[in-house]
């Protein structure tokens, strides 16, 4: 069983992933409602991104089908966000350029989705410089004043989507063998998955969509606590503090939630 919100919250509360009583109550209604409305195969809570005005962003991930195409995992995944925990709104995907520039903003989210951030970067070298000497005989024309910098404006929602994409890319993990590709390259839940044999080892967890286990990921970027008595493993990302994953051998269930500022720990190398 995967991503059962009650089980996940129960397992991850001790890792500081707690959502308020009001929010929990609202989600039991609003998530199934949105799922039906958007016609999704599944819709599960992805996590919470803290904001400065106290109106945190909650993000949910809706899934259609997933399949392998050209050796890459292609998933019909759609994200939604909410601040009042009732009205789920679309979170549109951002292109690579936008994501790259949004990545350079390192402030905590304000909580106002329409807030505009300005990213400035040096202007690309203009091609006019090469053309100028070609004009022989002509008086050196006054070079048009070019801006030394160009600026781009992005809304907080674009930043939010960038954060989610980044977190998702680095932290979506699953027990090894829990998913399986079908004949037509559709990645589906392995219903015959009998549980992990060594849940206390990082080798038992894979970054989903890849065959890489956590041991082969960036060394030292994962912290695994295994309670053999309760047969529950808690896996926390040290690169994305706030991301926590659990696997229970008892109920053969797993799930993950993110609860943090949405920022990568770029100081990881000093802290480990």
């Amino acid at each position: 069983m995967e991503n059962n919100l009650s089980l996940t919250l129960d397992a991850l509360a001790s890792s500081g992933v707690v959502i308020s009583t009001e929010q929990k109550a609202a989600f039991t209604v609003s998530i199934p409602l949105k799922k039906a409305e958007a016609g999704l195969k599944s819709l599960s809570l992805f996590g919470k991104i803290a904001s400065l005005n106290g109106k945190d962003y909650f993000v949910a991930e809706g899934k259609g089908k997933a399949y392998y195409f050209d050796n890459k995992l292609v998933a019909e995944t759609k994200f939604f966000y909410t601040q009042d925990c009732v009205k789920w709104l679309d979170l549109n995907t951002v292109d690579e350029e936008t994501a790259k520039r949004c990545d350079t903003i390192h402030t905590t989210m304000s909580g106002d989705p329409s807030k505009v951030y300005t990213v400035t970067e040096p202007a690309p070298k203009a091609e006019t410089a090469e053309e100028a000497p070609a004009e022989e005989g002509a008086e050196p024309a006054e070079e048009p004043e070019e801006p030394a910098e160009v600026s781009f404006e992005y809304t907080e929602l674009q930043r939010l989507q960038t954060m989610i994409q980044n977190i998702k890319k680095d932290t979506s993990i699953a027990p090894k063998g829990a998913y399986i590709t079908t004949g037509d390259n559709d990645l589906i839940l392995n219903k015959a998955f009998a549980g992990l044999e060594y849940p206390d080892k990082l080798e038992s967890y894979v970054l989903s969509g890849e065959t890489k286990t956590l041991l082969e990921d960036l060394p030292g970027s994962w912290s695994l606590h295994y309670d053999a008595f309760a047969s529950t493993a808690i896996v926390r990302s040290l690169l994305w503090p706030g991301h926590a994953f659990y696997y229970s051998g008892e109920s053969n269930s797993w799930g993950a939630l993110y609860s943090g500022a949405g920022m990568k720990n770029t100081e990881f190398i000093f802290m480990r």
Binding site: D10, G16, V18, S20, I188
Partner: protein
């Protein structure tokens, strides 16, 4: 018909040279499995079963035997936790078979942790009610421990480590450490006040006895500011960092606790007042405000601020009589915020305010809401109140939320005088004249 059936059967029963299995056996297994379990979506299951059979790692069936040592430890831990739920049983004397006399449980005071936990839960912070209950039992066990002799206990918080987590309890002792501020170093350690106003106990497993953390020295506080580390979960682990940290993880943890406690322990404004000699005492005239009307401006700091010197009160060395007092250094002349300073006075982190107000409900018009603030300087530190009851807790990695600026390595020392490399010429022999002059000078002096 029967011939082609026989051929097909024979083909299916052809043994694989790789695994020794036959397709026939596998199909029989799969069909048998489907018929035996009768799943609702057998078409999906058929696909997974076939695939799983091809890809799954087979260990030959049966549960895996854990090495014995590993199986025993978690069992013991769970046993200890379960004992917290029972009345403590006195040890039995093996010779007489009678219960041995034990010290009566220690009397202590504590806050209402479970009501506080409910407040924390309602704003989406804390550790969840179940874990908080275990924490409360562990706190009671520490409080009643006749050997620890604590007067008050408070759950300070939980620190996540790489391989284990720390539960930290903040206590005052009935028999505080005697002794005065020793001047063993330039800046003496505060004893019983300031950064060492509380004694901290820590455990990685609720139910295990708590370990007392050492007092913190000003130098250790200062050194902890230069580094940012993940905790490992082992108090005896080395803190590998640059600049070198003078102590094991227990000291680093204690330093982080001191810094977090001083910065993020709050109380509603007006709950305490400054009495004579700047002693913080309870304000009997305090009127609880409605939590729905509270925001960042309704909170103030409860513990004194830690100065750059690593102490809460600045130490200025005494000047021996008859000597002029030297100019105070920058550290010695620092004037921090006053006691019980409002948190709105805290310096912001660039454009980011140091605190964010949170509430239990966004539905307008709800009565009896819960209000709190969370720290942006120390992510994980929160304070929450419903108007009459308030609680502080820290749940996090023990790392400050500000960008870390690693210290530069020192400039490498010169190996030898570089001037000598410039020339390959052999130095001239020393001229003789100046030597004569020297002799003359010497003669003149005589």
């Amino acid at each position: 018909m029967s011939q082609s059936y026989g051929e097909a059967l024979a083909f299916l029963q052809k043994t694989s040279t790789e695994t020794g299995n036959t397709a026939y056996d596998q199909i029989v297994d799969v069909v048998g499995e489907i018929l035996a379990t009768r799943p609702a979506d057998s078409a999906d299951l058929l696909e997974t079963l076939l695939l799983a059979k091809k890809t799954a790692y087979e260990h030959g069936g049966g549960p895996i035997a854990l090495p014995e040592g590993e199986a025993v430890k978690p069992l013991e831990e769970a046993q200890k936790l379960s004992e917290l739920f029972l009345a403590a049983e006195p040890p039995i004397n093996p010779e007489t078979g009678e219960a041995e006399p034990v010290d009566p449980p220690n009397e202590f005071e504590t806050e209402d942790l479970m009501s506080g936990a409910a407040l924390l839960e309602s704003i989406g912070c804390g550790l969840g009610m179940k874990e908080m209950y275990n924490v409360m039992l562990a706190l009671k066990s520490l409080g009643e421990d006749p050997s620890a002799k604590v007067a008050t206990v408070r759950f300070f918080g939980k620190f996540f480590g790489i391989s284990a987590n720390y539960y930290v309890f903040e206590t005052t002792l009935k028999e505080p450490n005697a002794g005065s501020e020793e001047a063993e170093s330039v800046v003496p350690t505060e004893i019983g006040t300031g950064t060492n106003g509380f004694v901290y106990f820590v455990t990685t497993n609720l139910g295990d006895p708590c370990i007392k953390l050492p007092d913190i020295t000003p130098q250790q506080v200062k050194d902890s500011r230069y580094i940012k580390k993940y905790l490992t979960g082992d108090l005896t682990a080395e803190v590998s960092a640059y600049p070198t940290f003078p102590g094991k993880e227990a000291v680093y943890l204690r330093a982080q606790i001191a810094r977090i406690a001083a910065t993020t322990t709050l109380c509603p404004s007006g709950f305490f007042k400054l009495g004579e000699d700047d002693v913080i005492e309870k304000n009997d005239e305090f009127v609880p405000a409605s939590a729905s009307a509270m925001d960042v401006s309704s909170w103030c700091h409860r513990y004194p601020h830690i100065k750059k010197q690593g102490r809460c009160t600045v130490f200025v060395p005494e000047v021996p009589e008859g000597e002029d007092a030297p100019e105070p250094t920058e550290e010695e002349s620092e004037v921090g915020p006053p006691l019980l300073a409002a948190i709105t006075e805290d310096s912001p982190l660039g454009e980011t305010p140091s605190w964010t107000a949170v509430t239990s409900s966004v539905v307008p018009g709800i009565k009896h809401t819960v209000s709190g603030v969370r720290s942006n300087l120390w992510p994980g530190a929160v304070a929450v109140t419903n108007g009459s009851l308030f609680i502080n807790v820290y749940v996090g990695f023990g790392a400050k939320g500000t960008p870390y600026v690693p210290l530069h390595a020192p400039v490498p020392m010169k190996e030898y005088d570089a001037d000598l490399v410039e020339s390959n010429e052999i130095p001239d022999p020393p001229p003789e004249e100046p030597a004569e002059g020297e002799e003359e000078d010497a003669a003149d002096e005589e």
